[in-house]
Symmetry: C2
Subunit: 222 residues, 2 copies
DNA sequence: TGAGTTAGACTTACAGTGTACGTCTACTCA
DNA sequence: TGAGTAGACGTACACTGTAAGTCTAACTCA
């Protein structure tokens, strides 16, 4: 009987970079990047911390890995659509994906990302703009401007400590800390949120459209 | 002789929240937030770590404190200028200040900031927009859109691992990692940076103007 | 002046972090 | 059969923030 290749003991699947990244991604999604430690990842895999180093180089390597997995989830811009539609779709997709992984926007912004998914994503984005008639410089500028909005907006959104549905009651409980003589405008704005005149919910596409429209005018001028 | 109040021993100035924050700010500016530890702050003050807790509540309290110091350095929007000029000035000032303290943009985006300088800064910003004729909702939206660009752009800029003056030579040494068959557009863009056709330096005002112009059109339509 | 209070720096300790380094076991292949 | 190796493990180190308790010097007030 050949038990050389197929072991029939129901041992757990062998450790691998993929399994480590998969568990790390789950832990990060559940508790943020600060909840991600080598010991916790190892424990979730039924293994000791140092065993992970047989498959990944370091904790940074793990974070790079899960960042690239997240990026691979963003829809690539489509070359068959007009550039504005393509860029809007990819921005909306990026925004959506980053909200699903609340730690990711910050991680992307604070480290150098050269994973294959990221490189591909950037290449396609610049390519889409280039094919739309932007010069190389303008394609690069446009990419940077759109991404500034994506990351800036999403980070502000994620950092907001209150759920949108509770803006009103939260404003009500904190209004006393915003005295009208010191902060008249914030005070007034809070009152409007309390009485329901304004829900306080931001809109990702609001600022995005300013950038896309501005870029479009600039493109047509050439 | 009354030596009750004025001790003439040249003892170091007493520990205080202000001195702690001042040293912490310097350490953060020099080595980033991750270089900021209670033990290092204490050592720089000639004191042991736990002594700091007589003057600050926690490390988070210190970070909140130095964030607010940084924010207090941003020029408040001026009500006597037209809103676009005022917002441009405040955006440029914010960008400039955030570049001087490379850790700060990330810190602001990843924590809740309710220091006096921050509250004042936000109140004035919303106020300036409100006085310019924006509705409360639109003033809030506008503030959010402008700040998305400020933080998004600045974070991308700070995260860039290379100095602007070395883009060309850096691109040259890394071009082999960007094969033209896999990443054709990035490859081509790198070539243009190498041969000097394009310097690769982004412009903060490029995207900012899209947002400001878009907001202006929206304001005039009402 | 003497006693009581207190501010503030100190020491110790704990539970956590990433990871360098060395060891031990089980499997592969010549 | 015996060498080589992959991979899990244990130990250890230098850090982190901070809870808890101690000690001393200065101030307050009768």
């Amino acid at each position: 009987m050949a038990k050389t290749k197929t072991s029939n003991t129901p041992s757990p699947p062998p450790l691998s970079r993929e399994r480590i990244l998969q568990v790390a991604l789950r832990l990060a999604d559940e508790g943020g990047l600060e909840a991600l430690s080598m010991r916790k990842v190892a424990q979730a895999l039924g293994v000791k911390a140092m065993s992970l180093y047989n498959h990944v180089a370091s904790k940074d390597d793990i974070i790079d890995g899960i960042v690239d997995i997240v990026v691979s989830d963003i829809e690539l811009p489509r070359f068959d659509l007009d550039w504005k539609t393509a860029m809007r779709q990819r921005a909306l997709s990026a925004h959506e994906v980053l909200l699903k992984h609340p730690w990711a926007a910050m991680a992307i912004m604070s480290r150098i990302n050269v994973g294959p998914a990221m490189l591909r994503y950037v290449d396609r984005t610049i390519g889409c703009l280039r094919e739309a008639g932007f010069s190389w410089r303008m394609a690069d500028y446009a990419w940077n401007a759109i991404d500034s909005h994506i990351y800036g907006f999403t980070l502000q959104e994620l950092n907001y400590p209150v759920e949108a549905s509770k803006y009103s009651e939260t404003a009500e409980s904190f209004i006393s800390y915003i005295p009208p003589d010191q902060y008249p405008y914030m005070h007034q704005l809070s009152l409007y949120i309390i009485d329901g005149s304004y829900d306080g919910v931001y809109n990702f596409e609001f600022g995005l459209d300013f950038v896309l429209d501005g870029l479009d005018q600039l493109r047509e001028r050439n």
